[in-house]
Symmetry: C2
Subunit: 454 residues, 2 copies
């Protein structure tokens, strides 16, 4: 495990949100943009942040400064729902959710009983996150404990704050992918003890979704959650109409899909439900009352034809929400691109997703959804130093468009609309540059301190 | 104007459709895939096509051979609806069609009265087409004849088969962007005489859409179409509900939106209507009966929230259809990426768009929609030699996915799902390599003939 550089400084154009908000209209007030800013990291945390002018006195002679005058630096992007074992199966043709699971997902996930294979894909996955500016993710593994070990080890090498867990699944899946209520409980418990809170890793109890867990297994998941209340709960909810009908058939004694999870004690401020495309009114209320969060996964919802997530209802109902790629049903690891698809999903519903709201859902809003806004999401002093250096001119087309940007918000919207991994110039994890895009322009200047002002 | 190399040969993996079809189910029979093929071009046309083994005897000692053993070569991609003056305004925030036109499009288009500016953007636009493997496009210019000259000149430098025309617009737009019924007729006529059939250029009479043309102007457009029956007609139709309501209000004497165009003689086998998201039953019938074509523009329809185009109805009603990027409301110049969005639009409607059908709509199907299937769309001997060399491994993620491809169709679907401009290794126009991506791998081998077989 590489250690954080003791003290380092980054200079450039910084953009974040100072405080979380309860309504989208409040966001413009919370935008903090500093044209020439300085961020000082110490032992992985933000030790100082402000204008370059005010910050120079904070610098000591031995503090290296990376200067990115041409770029835009934002808090690390957060992916609130992604399946690392599905990395290799993106773009699997022709099915909606339930058939897609049987035809593609389960055969792919079978491979992850092999530790070496799991390690290989976990390394690849973490590199894809870094390459796309994603510094924290809430991740599905497979049913195999090996897959969890593989992922946390890969994350730990990068000192990345990752939340993940072993899938619990004891029915309606190939036998080789099924655990039992007992083994799922025992294996999850072992993994929690091994990984939760070790370094920056955090554990999520991860029943795949209600149809593939027996009532006994869901009860065991609830028992775990009660035993380890600061562990996460991560699952799927109301993605597809056929799925919802199936849940109602399987759990006739519950009042609806979410009520199945709620009944077993799986809602709460560290519970994240992916999709929630077709929630009923009482389910919105339940999410709000339990302080549960939603992962909105637009590329996946489009690719599987699941439907259009009504993002504005998260504000109406005061439900926490983050953005998720949902790879492999999602079609990109890039959170910026995912935001452009979120925009389209909102446009189809006659709603406007502003560039600021989009970025918020991928940074501070997502941190709040993951109950990590005390540690992540903006440049507040004391938070962990995860951030991304964006190249707004990664292609000739982007340069043309950016030259015509009317203001910062327009530039950000154009970035999001045209984004892919080429826009990620560098990704910093815990104060250390964990990824650098050699093809990106222009190159950063490493300055010897002291430096004269701009 | 650079001239076509007299004779050149391309060796590699080739994929096309042998014949056009009337139902999607017939497509698999028409797929022609040759693992080791040879294509010989002479004076811009396909002079010979078949297996490498059979083709070697066709080669003369002085024919240079480009060998792409690692790539996939498909017919040139065709964009059936795009606005070149909107290149610089991709990603304009927050509006649906009518407000988006007023807020963004009209101000942008005002610049194209300046010939130098128009030239600059036209050159940029043609490079973007080439960079994305697009070899033919049906293009909106602005109201200014200068914009048409600029575009045709840029296309002619590349010997590209382009169809374009001056916008006709005499109301409901800024005064500086309006022509008159008379001037639109006269200017269009001059441009037709100047450009239509000159080199590979073809002209399209281009009323923007019914709301911005007076009945007198539409009558003049119809007069032009009657005088030049082999000239194209290119306009918009039924993109947005508010637009449709407006047309019905403006033209109460017609039976609906399409009937406005039909009434003025603007339907026909060289008429292309962009969008057609919300057609009524009789409009489908009219398109079929008049042999008119549709340009399906999924990224634009999503970005402006216009709605979901029912692609399967084109088969049901036997209406010709091609794919369009509709840049600047579209969010990518890349036709492969646009097909991935088309897939999503179909998934949301519970329909499956196969990789073969997708590619068909961008090649032979699009050629048919443009009434150019005698010249473009596949590797039939005698057709014009426009084709694209695709790199299926443009990123690490694509390589991982392609290693797991089950068959050609799966590989093609994965390509489409993950595609961007990096997948374009080279673009050939009229037998000449007009674009080459230096960052793409692996490099082509230029072999000295005679060559031993594989």
């Amino acid at each position: 495990m590489s250690s954080a550089i003791a003290r380092t400084a980054i200079r450039g154009r910084f953009l974040d949100f100072q405080n979380s908000v309860t309504q989208a209209q409040e966001l413009p007030e919370q935008v903090r943009y500093i044209e020439d800013a300085l961020l000082i990291c110490e032992h992985g945390k933000i030790q100082w942040f402000g204008t370059w002018q005010a910050g120079q006195s904070q610098l000591t002679a031995d503090t290296p400064i990376q200067h990115y005058p041409e770029h835009l630096i934002v808090p690390g992007l957060i992916d609130t729902h992604v399946h690392f074992p599905q990395t290799e199966m993106m773009g699997a043709y022709g099915e909606q959710l339930l058939e897609w699971l049987n035809s593609y997902t389960f055969p792919t996930e079978l491979q992850f009983s092999d530790q070496a294979y799991a390690n290989q894909i976990a390394q690849f996955f973490v590199q894809e996150l870094l390459k796309n500016g994603t510094t924290t993710a809430l991740v599905f593994c497979t049913v195999h404990p090996e897959s969890v070990d593989a992922l946390f080890e890969a994350a730990q090498q990068q000192q990345m704050r990752l939340i993940a867990g072993k899938v619990m699944m004891d029915r309606h899946a190939p036998e080789a992918l099924c655990d039992t209520a007992e083994s799922a409980y025992a294996d999850s418990k072992t993994l929690i003890e091994k990984w939760h809170g070790k370094g920056r890793n955090l554990y999520a109890i991860t029943p795949r979704f209600a149809p593939t867990s027996s009532p006994e297994q869901l009860a065991r998941a609830g028992q775990l959650k009660a035993e380890y209340p600061d562990v996460y709960l991560h699952t799927h909810l109301s993605e597809n109409p056929n799925e919802i009908a199936w849940v109602k058939q399987l759990f006739p004694e519950q009042q609806g899909y979410l009520d199945v999870y709620h009944h077993y004690g799986l809602t709460g401020s560290r519970s994240v439900f992916a999709h929630c495309v077709h929630l009923e009114e009482n389910e919105w209320q339940c999410l709000h009352q339990t302080d549960s969060a939603i992962a909105f996964c637009p590329t996946s919802n489009l690719f599987l034809g699941s439907g259009l997530f009504p993002l504005q209802r998260t504000w109406e109902h005061q439900v926490k929400v983050g953005i998720g790629t949902d790879v492999g049903a999602g079609t990109s690891f890039n959170i910026l691109h995912t935001l452009s698809e979120a925009y389209k999903v909102q446009q189809l519903q006659g709603n406007k997703l502003s560039a600021y709201e989009a970025l918020y859902h991928a940074t501070l809003g997502a941190a709040k959804a993951l109950d990590l806004d005390d540690k992540l999401g903006n440049f507040t002093v004391g938070k962990e130093a995860d951030f991304v250096v964006l190249d707004l001119h990664a292609t000739a087309l982007q340069s043309l468009r950016q030259q015509r940007a009317k203001n910062l918000e327009d530039a950000l919207f154009a970035l999001i609309t045209l984004a892919d991994d080429r826009n990620i110039h560098a990704t910093y994890i815990y104060g250390r540059r964990a990824y650098y895009n050699p093809e990106s322009n222009p190159k950063p200047n490493t300055e010897a301190h002291p430096t004269t002002g701009t």
